[in-house]
Symmetry: C2
Subunit: 224 residues, 2 copies
């Protein structure tokens, strides 16, 4: 399957149909088909055992759809001033999906992924993004080139030795860079960080989960 991705389960498929993402095909059990016959999209009836074979879930939930991966214009690197999230080698699909959901909650429309990050159309990302994937532009880019092309925008990154985020003046525009789960921000990308920040550690954990750190940092930007 090229340029397509799988969307699984009643709620997510309904979010897909309500979005601008193009749906290619829908495979559903009889009950779902009957309840959703008003959908513009044709619905193909399948048996529970068919559904199990199509789905990546152990206990699939009524319906699976095939959607077209949105063809975002080859990302224009000259960005309008706004707040953006840039993920540097995020590997865990649950983290990627959860971060897309954070972006959507906080009104951030675009998330950049470094080349080599997890594929956002991986079924686990799709499921943990909970529909936010359909409303968020996800671009794979060379982050160094992105920052080079937008020198006017500050680049915030979390580092152990960064300034206490609770006491830092945070801009309303710029990039929030989140590093790899195990290794943090890569050396190349670190060279572009203009503002090193940190979430104060009050206890003994070595680090926070990458998605949790993203949530806390983005919340700090938006609370002002």
């Amino acid at each position: 399957m090229y340029g397509k991705f799988l969307v699984e389960g009643d709620k997510l498929v309904r979010e897909l149909l309500a979005s601008n993402v193009k749906t290619d095909a829908i495979y559903a059990l009889e009950g779902w088909k009957n309840a959703n016959n008003s959908a513009k999209q044709e619905i193909t009836l399948v048996s529970p055992s068919d559904l199990e074979r199509i789905s990546t879930h152990d206990s699939p939930n009524q319906v699976v759809a095939i959607a077209d991966i949105p063809k975002h214009e080859a990302a224009d690197l000259n960005l309008a001033p706004a707040l953006y999230i840039a993920l540097d080698q995020i590997q865990d699909p649950g983290n990627a999906g959860t971060i897309i959901r954070i972006a959507d909650w906080f009104g951030i429309n675009t998330v950049f992924f470094s080349e080599g990050s997890v594929d956002v159309y991986n079924p686990k990302v799709v499921s943990s993004a909970k529909g936010s994937l359909f409303r968020t532009a996800c671009h794979y880019v060379n982050l160094a080139q992105l920052f080079e092309a937008n020198k006017a925008l500050p680049v915030y990154g979390t580092f152990m030795e960064g300034e206490n985020i609770y006491k830092t003046e945070l801009a309303s525009q710029g990039f929030i860079v989140i590093g790899n789960e195990a290794n943090g921000i890569s050396q190349e990308v670190a060279g572009y960080v203009t503002n090193k920040i940190s979430i104060p550690n009050f206890g003994k954990a070595e680090s926070l989960n990458a998605a949790v750190a993203t949530g806390i940092v983005v919340s700090e930007f938006k609370r002002k």
Copy 2:
């Protein structure tokens, strides 16, 4: 196996050995055994295929240990004034582990789990808690009884209609209640919430991941 749990991988087993949690047995490949012979605990040599059989991971990392589930005193319900996290029917092991890690980062020593929450000694919780499980007291209790026994402590819970957390005066002592991933805070527990709070929504996502919401809320309590 009763009263025991599995700890997998080099880093986590070393954190286990450095903690107060009692280790029962260690099964390791030769390289790990040789590098860790100074451990007080006896190390049993196993082959890579043995390790694969013991481990729950697809590609196990050098070592697996069996530890004793800490026997916390039957939770004394009369608590010292401090900040506590109370989880109401959290089901996802990744969320539970991530929340324990958040507690450990922010210096919260005790997390309460409602009866019916995920088992914190489930291997996925152990792995996502990243060693914080060894430093955090996790108690399963009836949350209603817990709140009844500690009427002096405020109970904070997130609700759509709650007060904007950025503008709320937050106490330095009390309970932060986090509800179930799909259904939020249960009706019974909601009756004990003294302070309804909310994280403002700037976009279109319906909700945040439970662990991310915990991180943002706890950060708000600690930033003051």
